[in-house]
Symmetry: C2
Subunit: 544 residues, 2 copies
């Protein structure tokens, strides 16, 4: 039996064109003499369709598109992720996240998702009902079991939150092959875990397992693809490409050797960020971006990502010096633009800055220079970027990193301006690692940018370290408090940090919530981002 | 039997002080010789505690505070909403949204919530497990049943989404009194529905019913209080005050007459907006606000709300005319500030505007005046407001209304600047109704502001109607598409509108999603806001 795995990049809600792609893959599978073709979770709608699911017309149109797939399934067995409306046991209208199982122009049935993730970015219980029943479908003498994404993960990873383990129930049905339809978003170092989990599931089921994973970025989520085939010993043998559409053709009769791989987590992280930018623009029918280059490492990194995502001719860089900008920052900005062949505009802002100071001085008399004046500079820059964006159509890329967003070390409506926050979910520690990874073969980001002490250059001789502890400490508290939900005491103990310092950093994280709430959507590359899937009150007074 | 109903205004996460208030109410109940004292849902944490629930330390501290309540319950029966950790039937750690039932220094047990709303702004299945079991607790010969918020609503309103009806199950236990612990957020005209629902529940249970509802604003949600007592015939007999802390003392032996009331929905709406502003500031330990006064109706209305919430001395208004501002707008701004005794600063922006035009002209050569130049003016105003805010500590109130937010007829980082979007969830239709309601006795908002044709005054002779259909039509599409999830065809049919027009408005709603995503948090006063509880992709291509 040959199985064709179609790793597609759907656009949310583009039901007809997503289905066109599905039909095209079925045709290719037929040409490859495949017996079975399998698609990712929610392949017709794209994942996650979010509140589009609240429109009856949306659900009905998915059903129409499914009929097209059924009609195109002559002589082939198709398993495709979609969403179906049905009445549940109590005669209530319900939606199910499901796999439609089709053979030779007939719908054989559905295998509904059992475990509905409702944590972090996932809100499946908002839309779907669970179906506990596990099933196998017979085709050419083989019993094919189907699991949808989380249904397999819970076997290893998330048992603590679910009452059922679909893998255990499926095992009783003695499948000969198991297909997992997934839309499993990328996060840093997730591939390790994914391999471990599916390896164990295949081994425990004692049967070959195929993972068909969605690829592509939808809003803030990036799906990395990397569809996989595990043999019945749980050995990973075949892996599809990451971050692009691809397909696998698996022959169950063939003997595969164990896949040998070296995980390159930084390469994956960089690829995820590039795809996040690329798909955001492509799927919005946009092509051109602009960004402010400060001479610092964050904007340099975003420039590299933008160039790889959109091409150098589609990226416009702006250098907008004030009286506090250093000469070396300007030189470094020119240097990186030269090497990446990106157009750089110089628009000095000091004259405008002085105009604001003059206009406001009657209201500020006697008050010292403070963050007000710093923010003015950042906001003038934001306004200029937005004006160019409005006039020329280049979408602004925001360059703040996750550590800064945590600390509130960013200016709302200033450097936070932008259609997409490229590094919103990348800690400063990872920013440095990525910069060095980019320079692994040759100096693309000027070493001076990487090596200089971080500074916002919004007042004379400013350094980030004037108001922040080292990013190493910030990032530990970020990990402990935001990602792992540890208490103050637990963080102090785990990282051997000073309690007063940690408390002050947690307070800063709380205080900056109002800024982050108005930040640009960011590309999610961690297990817990600020930008989506974190529901934190602005007004509260909790301190653990 | 006498029941003391404590309608409290908790602050999210302020566990010790919320508990202090609870203990104080118990003391007062004792002085009033009450037998029973009942508190709202999640009274210890405040509702909704959101992701604070992911910290074990938070759950543990709620337990500590519950112990304080138990120790203070000498000779009294206390029912208090809290959250408890327990193992479920499958030995998994779970959280329950629950009522702790306490008598005479002993914890008698818990009544867990059965129905967990996970739609709109509610995400309870993210945190809680459901407990299907209904119970009664005996006290002084009476069987007291307990329902938590949604557990009663579903009996009438939301049966379609749940498999259980806790009211029907509770009825079998023949309670003599039912307590409903609620944190039921306000929306426009909800009181009608709430009365209808609880009246029917009391009648069907054939027993007296007490609703103890939270009051106060937490972030974007406003809880209106209005705790109620229904007799066993389902007649509403006693109602607590709305939008303030209050208590009721209900004597089950007394005979009450049917409560006669006239619903004043506009008064409630206005009160909700005032409380939304007041609690946002108070709970953040802030007192001063500022806003831009354009001479239009939206900023005039926000000024009235701010003055009622914070006092005129805490509100600073800014008039920031450009070359396109009309003289009458300036005069109207002065007039309303005079009548409300609010300080008005005049900061003309035209000089700055010209500086931007000059600076940018080399990059804009040959391009016509467009929204770029309009946005520049709005953004200069936003920057000036933010600079004053940064320097003086006045929080910026944003004045855009829901119809504008729907259409994208707002400038991101311009008039969308602000810590709180007071009218984010108020349609233009309701803005007019509220303005007229404010002027019901005397002219507070100059009639000229109410009667003039809406204009953003960002280009010569501009009118909103240049680029938008009448707000009457916008608001119908807003209702149909955003609140009711109707398809294009359904909207066309229901409101007898032109299909091409409706399609263009839906497209505008989609296109403006990226702006709204970066808008300030708004005060929610409708059944479906843009600002919270609407999960809509930015990148998609659905058109119903």
């Amino acid at each position: 039996m040959k199985i064709y795995v179609a790793q597609l990049n759907p656009k949310i809600g583009d039901l007809a064109r997503n289905t066109d792609k599905i039909l095209n893959s079925i045709e290719r599978a037929r040409l490859e003499k495949a017996d079975v073709v399998v698609f990712p979770e929610c392949a017709i709608s794209g994942y996650p369709p979010e509140d589009l699911l609240l429109f009856d017309s949306f659900i009905d149109e998915m059903e129409n598109q499914l009929q097209r797939i059924i009609k195109s399934s002559k002589n082939i067995f198709v398993v495709v992720g979609t969403i179906r409306k049905s009445v549940n046991n109590n005669q209530k209208n319900s939606l199910f996240n499901t796999a439609a199982v089709i053979s030779d122009e007939k719908l054989l049935g559905y295998k509904d998702k059992t475990l509905l993730p409702t944590y972090d970015v996932f809100v499946e219980k908002r839309y779907f009902e669970s179906n506990d029943q596990q099933k196998v479908f017979e085709h050419k003498g083989k019993k094919i079991g189907i699991l949808i994404c989380e249904d397999a993960w819970a076997h290893v990873e998330k048992l603590a939150i679910y009452e059922k383990d679909p893998v255990v129930d499926l095992e009783k049905l003695k499948p000969d092959l198991v297909l997992n339809l997934s839309a499993s978003p990328y996060y840093y170092q997730k591939k390790d875990k994914r391999i471990d989990i599916f390896s164990k599931v295949a081994k425990d089921l004692n049967c070959p397992l195929i993972l068909a994973n969605q690829v592509g970025a939808n809003d803030q989520l990036v799906f990395d693809g990397h569809s996989m085939f595990f043999d019945k010993n749980g050995d990973l043998t075949v892996v599809a490409k990451g971050f692009v559409e691809d397909h696998l053709l698996i022959d169950l009769k063939a003997s595969y050797t164990k896949y040998s791989y070296e995980l390159d987590h930084l390469k994956d992280l960089y690829s995820a960020l590039v795809l996040g930018v690329k798909d955001y623009f492509r799927k919005l029918n946009l092509s051109k971006a602009c960004l402010g280059l400060s001479g610092g490492i964050d904007s340099a990194l975003v420039l590299c990502i933008a160039v790889d995502a959109l091409g150098p001719h589609n990226v416009l860089a702006l250098s907008m010096p004030s009286r506090f900008s250093s000469l070396s920052s300007l030189e470094d900005s020119h240097k990186i633009c030269d090497s990446l062949r990106v157009e750089l505009m110089d628009i000095p802002i000091d004259h405008l800055y002085q105009q604001y100071l003059d206009l406001l001085s009657p209201f500020f008399s006697g008050k010292a220079f403070d963050t007000t004046e710093e923010n003015l500079q950042a906001r003038i820059r934001g306004m200029i970027l937005m004006a160019l964006s409005n006039k020329l159509g280049n979408i602004v890329l925001s360059t703040g990193n996750k550590s800064e967003m945590a600390m509130g070390y960013v200016t709302l409506y200033g450097d936070m301006c932008g259609g997409l926050g490229v590094l919103n979910d990348v800690s400063k520690t990872l920013v440095y690692k990525l910069a060095n990874w980019i320079n692994r073969k040759k100096e693309i980001i000027p070493n001076n940018i990487i090596n200089k002490e971080p500074s916002a250059e919004l007042r004379a001789n400013q350094k980030d370290s004037d108001t922040l502890p080292s990013y190493d400490i910030v990032d530990k508290v970020l990990q402990g408090y935001v990602e792992d939900h540890l208490s103050l005491d637990q963080i102090v103990k785990k990282y051997q940090l000073d309690s007063i310092l940690v408390k002050s950093l947690i307070e800063r994280i709380h205080l900056a919530e109002y800024k982050r709430r108005q930040g640009p959507p960011g590309i999610i590359v961690s297990k817990k981002s600020f930008t989506k899937g974190r529901y934190f009150p602005i007004v509260h007074s909790w301190m653990s």
